[in-house]
Symmetry: C2
Subunit: 406 residues, 2 copies
């Protein structure tokens, strides 16, 4: 079924004109004035489509279209409209706008559904203004307490609850999207796989689990001029050796295992002192719970071995663990059938990043659909997706809603 390309494009353009950085990036921090302007536009389009606007107590917006079967649970589709401080054009916005466009296309074509359809814009997905991310879906899924979220402050000390009230989007708890037949989140991949391998579309089977470690390596602080090489216990050299071993081991695990050392520091941090201590962070991810546990074990053993080989000591602390998420098999299979029917080159893929769908999956059968990100660019002005992939993804979504409704 053909969507209204022009409508989809002009609506996305309208949102993406609201707040643009010097580098051409998007700047719609959650609950900011820019976010309010985007919300107001979304609300107007929901009304234009003849849908009902519902706002919950986290500020999440829902466009509600009743179904023909009074006993059928709704099908939700959406994502978020907030962005990183200098974010991309389609991250989040694609999910909300493709959901709205799919519903509008169904209406335009006079297709009625048994299930109510709900187009959703979750509040503060990015976590760029209020930390951590996915605060609204986290409350709905039972991960966070609403008052804990209300008390969250941005870097200027402004509270979530105050901004929510200020921009006029404090709604009712009874509007929370808690019970549904399905929740579908279309999103950009944010990685390079689909683009690189020539796929038009990704059927997301789950999200990688994450283990985060803080690592300290202790060697010996020494004078950079008076300590011969053979007498050093240079903590940075030990860390360098360990980090390369960790990368090698992770590559042995194969896709989708990844490991990232994002932060590093040496102390005492003087140009002419051999560093006696080094800190670095580890973020490792895998789609398989058992493999993620095994990887953590391997990582710990490698660090300990490299340290003991070099007469250094290590201290490892786990700061984070998120189990791998597996999306609903029914939705995955339905997506695959629709893709085959539409002759779309689709690949089963994992999400490496967090999404509202990851939380919502705990309470509602959930699925995600990816469109390719050109060169995998994400959270930057260079983030882009081919327009034909945006269109294909939205048409695929439309067909999927029909299939799930059956």
């Amino acid at each position: 079924m053909r969507i209204n390309e022009e409508r989809l494009r002009s609506r996305m353009d309208a949102i993406n004109r609201i707040a643009v950085t010097e580098e051409g990036g998007m700047m719609r921090l959650a609950l900011s004035d820019a976010d309010k302007t985007a919300r107001d536009l979304l609300k107007s389009w929901i009304k234009e489509a003849g849908m009902e606007v519902r706002i919950d107590d986290l500020g999440t917006i829902q466009g509600y279209l009743p179904g023909t079967d009074p006993n059928s649970l709704p099908i939700g589709v959406g994502s978020h409209m907030d962005t990183q401080p200098n974010g991309g054009r389609y991250d989040g916005l694609f999910g909300v706008m493709s959901g709205l466009e799919a519903v509008c296309t169904l209406i335009d074509n006079g297709i009625t559904m048994k299930s109510p359809l709900v187009v959703i814009d979750w509040t503060n997905e990015e976590g760029a203004r209020f930390v951590p991310p996915m605060l609204a879906s986290g409350v709905v899924a039972g991960n966070f307490d609403v008052n804990w979220v209300y008390a969250k402050e941005d870097k200027n000390g402004i509270k979530y609850v105050d901004e929510l009230t200020r921009i006029g989007y404090m709604g009712s708890k009874s509007n929370r999207f808690e019970k549904a037949k399905a929740y579908i989140e279309p999103h950009i991949e944010q990685g390079p796989i689909l683009d690189q391998e020539g796929y038009e579309f990704g059927i997301v089977t789950g999200a990688l689990g994450i283990t985060g470690l803080d690592v300290k390596i202790k060697g010996e602080t020494n004078h950079a001029g008076t300590t011969p090489m053979r007498n050093r216990k240079d903590a940075l050299m030990v860390a360098a050796e360990a980090m390369l071993e960790l990368r090698k081991k992770t590559i042995e695990y194969g896709d989708p295992a990844v490991i990232t050392m994002g932060i590093i520091s040496a102390s005492p941090a003087s140009k002419n002192i051999v560093p006696g201590e080094v800190y670095f962070s580890i973020d490792m991810r895998h789609d398989n719970d058992e493999a993620l546990t095994r990887l953590e074990q391997d990582v710990r053993e490698i660090i300990q071995k490299v340290c003991s080989d070099n007469c250094a000591e290590s201290h490892i602390e786990r700061y984070w663990r998120a189990d791998p998420v597996h999306f609903d098999e029914g939705i995955i299979n339905a997506s695959e059938k629709v893709a085959n029917k539409l002759k779309i080159r689709a690949k089963r893929i994992y999400s490496g990043a967090g999404h509202d769908a990851v939380f919502i999956n705990r309470i509602i059968p959930t699925g995600m659909l990816f469109v390719p990100s050109i060169k995998g660019m994400s959270h930057c002005p260079q983030e882009d997706t081919k327009w034909e992939d945006i269109v294909t993804g939205t048409e695929m979504l439309t067909e999927l809603l029909i299939k799930i409704d059956k």
Copy 2:
């Protein structure tokens, strides 16, 4: 010739009781009240020995003992009494006190010298309060301008010149130690070589040259979850590989070549972002000018090769270059003869650290003598030297002064 061990020990103890940190370290920052107390004690002992006290316009103290030959240039001996914030018992102090003890021993034994003898306490050698180090000897040697030094401020904004005046040690330019037959600086090794190899004594042939580089490596910033390992240009992995190669290459150069990466940072410094850029510092040292130049060339080539192998870019900037220093051959040979005569197990050795002697070597024939540092500990409360090595070093110095005078 036997020195007066008891006098040497009690005088050192008196200085080392002035300001002691909780960890048992010394805290005599240059021109502080603690430094003044140490200076006042030194002055009293100079007078007690019948020597004349001279202060120059940098605050450097000299105890002057006339010689029998009115045409002979003086022989200087000394070091510094200022310390690091939590420094050791013998760093600097050994040079001043062994010099004083040697002269007192000569006087006690009725030995007259042709040359005047000058015991010296240089101001602000450590550079712990006023940066950079060796400010007073640097002016005398012509490296620094005196007004530039006067204007130097400590971290509280207090000027060198104001503190010098406040503690009453502003002297006269005409008292600068500029012309001399020789300058000898006894010092602790601050490295582990003598201790490890079982020597009692080090005859310092020179000081290592230093080349300092700032290195930036540029890869690509990426999402830690969505970017497969094979798609990464992780700047920290490139840096780790380069640093290990640099260490390997430097070890191939053999002693006394050393390389230190003391500071490192990754950006954007987020636990879940693959670092797109890494900065690290390099401090490399060698006793041979040509070899130091070659090492720098090798280091640059290694970084460039590792970067190009990994599709990364590097930017390398030299922030420091100090040529290797070679001390006076006559003093080195004289020291060796004295050591042989006294049957002291002495080793020719390089200084990896900077010293006032390194500057003074530019204007006066200069030599340095090292006593062993136990386990090479330096700039910390654990710094230590066996008492018998302190005594041997002082006796050796006494004999060397006699030899140089002849």
